[in-house]
Amino acid sequence: MAESGEFELLGRMTIGQYLPTGSPLHTIDPRGKLFVGVLLVLTTVATGSLLGLTLLLITVVAGFLLARIALRYALSGLRPLLPFILILALLQVFTIPQRGAASVLWHWGPLIITDASLLAGITLIGRVFAMVLTLSLLSFTTTTTELTHGIEHLLLPLQAFRFPAHELALVAIIAVRFLPILAQETERLMKAQASRGADFGRGRGNPIRRTRRLLPLVVPLFLVSLQRAEDLVLAMEARCYTGGRGRTHLIQLKARHRDYAFVAALVGIAVLAVTLSVISADHCVQGWLAGML
């Protein structure tokens, strides 16, 4: 099968997509999902232990099963990141401060691998996977409308301090809505200019020439975006948009028992993951690694 993705900009992006499988996870209150999503990402950063990370990874994989979405699809979105993740992990393995307590597993000239550094490398990979999978799951199961409503509601308490919660949510929704439109326009313009012999190929020529080659793409893209923005302003004006004050929503968010149960369960898991790293259960993993090599 020949490559056909020369101009496909949207196809490769998985994060940010919404996949309507109609699972129980889709019907959870978006505020709950947002809160849990942010909490889990913070937990992956906070937990330094492999055990804690494993717990988080199992949780998110269970989430994928529950959402009836193939894990393979989320992983395919990770593929372009893989080289960077591996390079970062290798850097960790070879440069982590060689603490006195760590035992050397392997060395060759200046290159030394200790049990601590190997563990750090593995932890880094686990962390990135847990984070990306969590955020992917959030976007796969939540529409952009739900997300922005969620953000607005979560920020609402801050309005007491004159924080523009509604405006911020609106900016967020417009930005998110514009992204796929811009990607589509870019694809269309790339194809149109390529039909006139334009070559957006990589590499050749000095930076100035390479930038010049993008002009046929960038100039029309700006014009089209400005036009779209103007249309949007007109549409909002025509519907007498006056900002958030006194505005009601078509969909009233209402937390039910199951939403509370969902949040409580995941807060529990997060606490457990952090506790695991605090009591430093990794000593046994380190010992196990050393024993294996």
Binding site: M1, Y73, R188, S195, D199, P216
Partner: protein, 288 residues
């Protein structure tokens, strides 16, 4: 028209799936067969989402065949080493609202973009710009005008000139008259039929506007759910209201009026494609 010759473009059993292997997978083309011969004006009609645009993008190698084959002057486009640049030179593709792709400050520079990309000398480029602008009915002096000063209809003609300046054998257009006023539409259709008259050239036109198709096409393909439902001359295809209507397609307005008259019991022949033909058919009934 000589159908014995080899076609310029041959599409054989073409399949295309968007986002294959993801939950968002959509089947766009399912085994399309299509041929374009020199001298023809091929129309492609079909409801939104029938795969028209996907098919058009295969004709100049923007999309490569996933299954099946597209031959352009004998070049098999599914091959990795296919000469795609040469194919894009011989098949010019004009997208919907092509005026969006203009980017140069001066009109002439934008028309020159294509010929320059294909490596022509300054003199040749100048000559190509002149003949392309004249072909679309813009005076050559327009080349020094600011692109943004031109009217909407003029900008579309300018964008068309930008593709014609590459001097393709086949011109492929997606909804060329959408959003134009009647005068702009007439001008564009005139340009297209005149351009096709030169020997060896062919036109492929996807449109929702049945009047456009009836007016300039010599052969029509009806696309539905990614495969060819019908093909034939406009007269043959538009006679099949029984196939068109269930697929959300209409016949040209002139023919629709005759069909209505016939339904009311008036014995008129219903084969007319243009207003003039319909008028003479009605006249014949009134006087005869």
């Amino acid at each position: 028209m000589n159908q014995r010759e080899a076609p310029i473009i041959a599409v054989q059993d073409l399949w295309h799936t968007y986002l294959a292997g993801t939950p968002l997978e959509t089947q766009s083309l399912r085994g399309v067969q299509l041929e374009v011969f020199a001298g023809e004006a091929v129309g492609i009609i079909g409801p939104t989402g029938s795969g028209k645009s996907t098919l058009l993008q295969h004709l100049n190698g923007l999309l490569r065949p996933q299954r099946g084959e597209v031959y352009v002057r004998g070049n098999a486009l599914s091959r990795r080493d296919a000469a795609v640049r040469g194919v894009r030179q011989s098949v010019g593709l004009v997208f919907q609202s092509p005026e969006d792709q203009l980017f140069e400050r001066y009109a002439g520079d934008d028309v020159a973009f294509g010929p320059r990309n294909f490596g022509l000398s300054a003199d040749e480029v100048r000559e190509r710009v002149r003949s392309a602008m004249e072909a679309v009915g813009l005076p050559f002096s327009c080349k020094d005008r600011l692109t943004w000063e031109l009217s909407h209809g003029q900008r579309r003609l300018l964008a068309l000139a930008g593709v014609l300046a590459v001097d393709p054998l086949v011109l492929v257009l997606d909804e060329p008259t959408a959003g134009l006023d009647p005068q702009g539409r007439r001008a564009l259709l005139r340009v297209l039929s005149a351009w096709r008259k030169a020997p060896g050239r062919a036109l492929v036109l996807a449109s929702h506007n049945m009047e456009d198709i009836a007016e300039i096409c010599t052969r029509v393909y009806v696309l539905s759910h990614g495969h060819v439902l019908l093909q034939g001359t406009p007269r043959e295809v538009f006679a099949r209201d029984d196939v068109l209507a269930p697929n959300g397609l209409t016949v040209p307005a002139a023919m629709a009026i005759l069909l209505l008259l016939k339904a009311r019991g008036c014995q008129v022949p219903t084969a007319a494609l243009t207003v003039e033909e319909a008028a003479s058919a009605i006249e014949a009934v009134l006087h005869g």
